[in-house]
Assembly symmetry: C2
Homo-oligomer: 550 residues x 2
């Protein structure tokens, strides 16, 4: 039996577009002699549809689109993902389902049993968990059709924050009772820099437990904050990967199930370089945000510092130099190298730039507010005015010419609130909001791996917001190599003050860092969507109270 | 048996503060001869704790605080709400539990079975549903201890978007097998203008089904976006309310269970005036946001229009005139009445104001950007600069003097994106972001119910953003009485274009309105937390995709 893996990049709510994508690949698969073609989880409507699932008109569109897609399955079977109505008298209104299509119609439905409801996932918000397990028979082969988390009943991650047995049910153990010969898994599993390894462990674990090959088809492409990395694959019954689809790109491959046993194992090597993966993910994240929103052009404030330099290089890869136009926005506190480093970068990658001084606008605000502020020393208020004047300039360019503003804040800054709300925290999309400063440096080195694109001076000079004379980040914050370690332990690992201090960090620094993270939730609440590349990003995946005693 | 209802206003993560609140009322209850005192759901840590529940240090603090509270229960029983570890080998790590305390220790735990995971609720993110049902015996009385949603297995709301049977289990039906004599329900049930009636229906339904009295203790107070209205009560076995605690205030009352049968029913009347309730809720929402965050003072931009006028009056009730300082920020496009109406209101309620023209700063931006914008007509870019210059002025005042900026956008504007991101959409808290424009008018009338506080001209003049000559809201938007009806049907009722048109609205208007709501998700993503007063507010309760085909 020949199975096609259709790793597609659907757009949420784009039923016509997704249908076209799916039916074209059904035709390709048919022409290439496949007996079955498998698409990702919720591929008909795109993942994640969020509260569109609460809309009856959206569900109706899902169902009619599935029926229309089924019409192209006359000589082939297909499995697509879509919500399905729960016809029982109680429970959530929907299932998250795999639809087996063939003979021009829907043959059977296979509902998801394990509904991830943690971090960025909220599936129990919409779906009823499946409790009835059945096998599909396709071309005489008994197949266990599962949806994403259904294979994750035994998670490779176990910590104080998370246990490996999140669920009481093992869907594959139930399905195994019906003696399947093959497992198919439809997924929309988002990228994080450590998730690929975990996925492999899960699939290896599954093949070992049940001695069955797995055909895994994942969504690819970015939807707002979430980046899906594809990487669909086939594993033989011994847990070896024998077919591997591209990561971060659409892909389509066919496997003959009879040959799975005899195919050689694929060894991964370079694919697992963390920084290279993050780089790819961010480029895809930017590209898809613009393409799917119908925009082409971006802008940002190029400061001469490392964050805006890295964002510009990523945007240049995603959108092309011709679609970028940046502003250099110096003030009286800007050092000479701010301009020269920024100009050098813009010229290195051939991006149009303008230099607009913020001094006059800044001084006009000071004048307008002088009667209110008489006799008071300059402080954070004046620092923030500068950052906000820059935002007004950038948004004016954005509104005038249609360039979306890219936010350049990194995760370390976002964590401790080292940024100005409505100033440098503005933007349609935060590119580095899930990348710690130390990783921003690593990204810069990676971008420069073949030649100096980002001026070395941007990488080597001490980071500064340049909002007052001789300001340095290290005046207000611990050095980033210390700060980032504490932040990682607090945010990603969920460790508390006591534990972190016991691991060898200074109490005062740890306490102050944790306090800063907690009291700056209000700033992050209003920040743009952040491209997620870690296991715990700011945004939907980390929902903290604003009003609380900290 | 005498039961005290302790309707408290805890602060999330304030273990010392909450413990003090709880132990003081345990002492009061003891002194007043009560046998049992009941506190709201998750009262030990405050509700909602959100992802603090994922932190082991937070859970440890919950457990140690419960043990400390138990020490004050030597002559009385108490029921408090707190998370409890799930010691089973699989499932979520926690239960959402009621702890029965007595004899200085924890006597028993009663876990929540129905975990609301819809709208603003996400309890399955953290908690395992209870499956073992048991009765508590207190002073020889058999009591069914339930937590909030446990009584909501049969919801009074049934629509295309929501069914009445959200769950497959009925906790009370299970508990009824053990022949209880009384139902106790610990709740943290947030206010919405239509929720009180629904609660009554649920409790009446429960008493009718089981013929048992209900003692209901709800949290009061606001936590960021959510406003808890208290309104704890006792119902007799026939579904009549016989004891009613205050709404929107802390309260404490004792009921003798022997007298429940003979107490007269309480008839509600004025309490159900929707606008008066929303008014109370918003005042509490503002007051608690400031108090719990440790702030006292607020600012806003007073435009002479109705939205900022209503917000100022609400803030004045919540914080007092002495804690308010507003800016009037006229431009060349401001009409005379903008200033006179604003001044009149500020003087009516004795609020300090300054008039700061934005003309010079606006013109400085135009100059600075002139080489970039040469030859291009003024458009939305220049309109937005004005709104953003105002925001910079207000945030400067906020940063200089510590006044939090209140956002004055209403729900109609927020819905259709009629507002400037980083301009009038700024603020620490959105006061009217869940109040449609037509209800803003009703609130203004209500505020003026005894005398003219808000100048009549602010209420009667046609709404305008005054960002270009002779601009009116109605140039860009349908009249608000039409717009708000369409928005309500689309947002609150989940109806689609076809259905709304079938109900008698113009197709082009409906289509355009829906499109505006969908494509402006990106703006709302970055707006401040919104005080929730409706059944479907923007914010955590309405999670829509930004990147999607609309």
């Amino acid at each position: 039996m020949k199975i096609a893996l259709a790793q597609i990049n659907p757009v949420v709510n784009d039923f016509d577009g997704n249908k076209l994508l799916i039916t074209q690949l059904i035709q390709s698969a048919t022409e290439n002699g496949a007996n079955l073609v498998v698409f990702p989880e919720l591929s008909v409507c795109g993942y994640p549809p969020h509260d569109l699932l609460d809309r009856p008109d959206f569900i109706e569109k899902c169902l009619s689109t599935v029926r229309e897609i089924a019409l192209s399955c006359s000589e082939i079977f297909a499995i697509v993902g879509a919500p399905a109505p729960n016809n029982a008298s109680a429970g959530k209104l929907l299932f998250n389902s795999a639809y087996l299509l063939g003979n021009g119609e829907v043959i059977s439905l296979h509902h998801k049993a394990l509904l991830p409801t943690y971090d960025i996932f909220d599936e129990y918000r919409y779906f009823e968990p499946n409790t009835e397990f059945k096998i599909a028979e396709i071309c005489g082969k008994r197949i266990a059709i599962t949806v994403c988390e259904d294979l994750w009943d035994d998670q490779p991650l176990s910590s104080a924050v998370r246990r490996s047995k999140l669920y009481k049910v093992s869907p594959m153990a139930e399905l195994a009772k019906h003696k399947p010969e093959l497992i198919i898994n439809l997924a929309s599993s988002p990228f994080s820099s450590d998730n690929y390894q975990r996925r492999l462990e899960v699939f290896k674990g599954t093949t070992h437990r049940f001695g069955l090959p797995v055909v895994y088809v994942n969504q690819v492409g970015a939807n707002t904050d979430l980046i899906f990395d594809g990487g669909s694959m086939v594993l033989n019954g011994k847990g070896n990967v024998v077919l591997q689809l591209k990561r971060f790109e659409e892909d389509f491959k066919i496997v003959d199930t009879d040959s799975i046993k005899s195919l050689p194992s694929i060894i991964h090597s370079t694919q697992n370089d963390r920084i290279a993966l993050i780089h790819k993910a961010l480029v895809l994240g930017i590209a898809d945000y613009f393409r799917k929103m119908g925009f082409k052009k971006a802008t940002l404030g190029l400061s001469g510092g490392i964050d805006s330099a890295v964002v510009l290089c990523l945007a240049q890869e995603a959108l092309g130099s011709e679609n970028l136009r940046v502003l250099l926005l110096p003030s009286q506190y800007s050092s000479d190298h701010s301009i020269t480093d920024a100009v050098k970068l813009a010229e290195n990658i051939n991006v149009k730039y303008d230099i607009v001084s913020i001094e006059n606008a800044f001084s006009e605000f000071n004048k307008s507010l002088s009667t209110l502020f008489t006799g008071l020393p300059q402080n954070i208020a004046e620092e923030n005015i500068q950052a906000r004047v820059r935002a007004v300039m950038l948004m004016a360019l954005s509104n005038k010419f249609g360039h979306l503003l890219l936010n350049t804040s990194n995760k370390s800054e976002a964590a401790v609130g080292y940024g100005t709300l409505y100033g440098d925290m503005c933007g349609a999309l935060s590119v580095l909001g899930d990348v710690y400063k130390t990783d921003v440096y690593a990204l810069a080195q990676y971008i420069n791996r073949e030649k100096e694109i980002i001026p070395l001076n941007s990488i080597t000079k001490p980071p500064s917001a340049e909002l007052r004379p001789d300001q340095k980040d290290s005046d207000s914050l611990p050095e980033y190599d210390i700060l980032d370690k504490i932040l990682y332990k607090y945010i990603e690992e969920g460790k508390g003050e006591e534990t972190i201090v016991a691991e060898g960090f200074d109490l005062a620094t740890v306490r102050r860092t944790i306090k800063l993270v907690n009291i700056n939730e209000y700033k992050r609440f209003q920040c743009p969507p952040i491209l997620r590349v870690s296991s715990k990003a700011f945004g939907f995946g980390r929902k903290m109270p604003l009003v609380a005693k900290f």
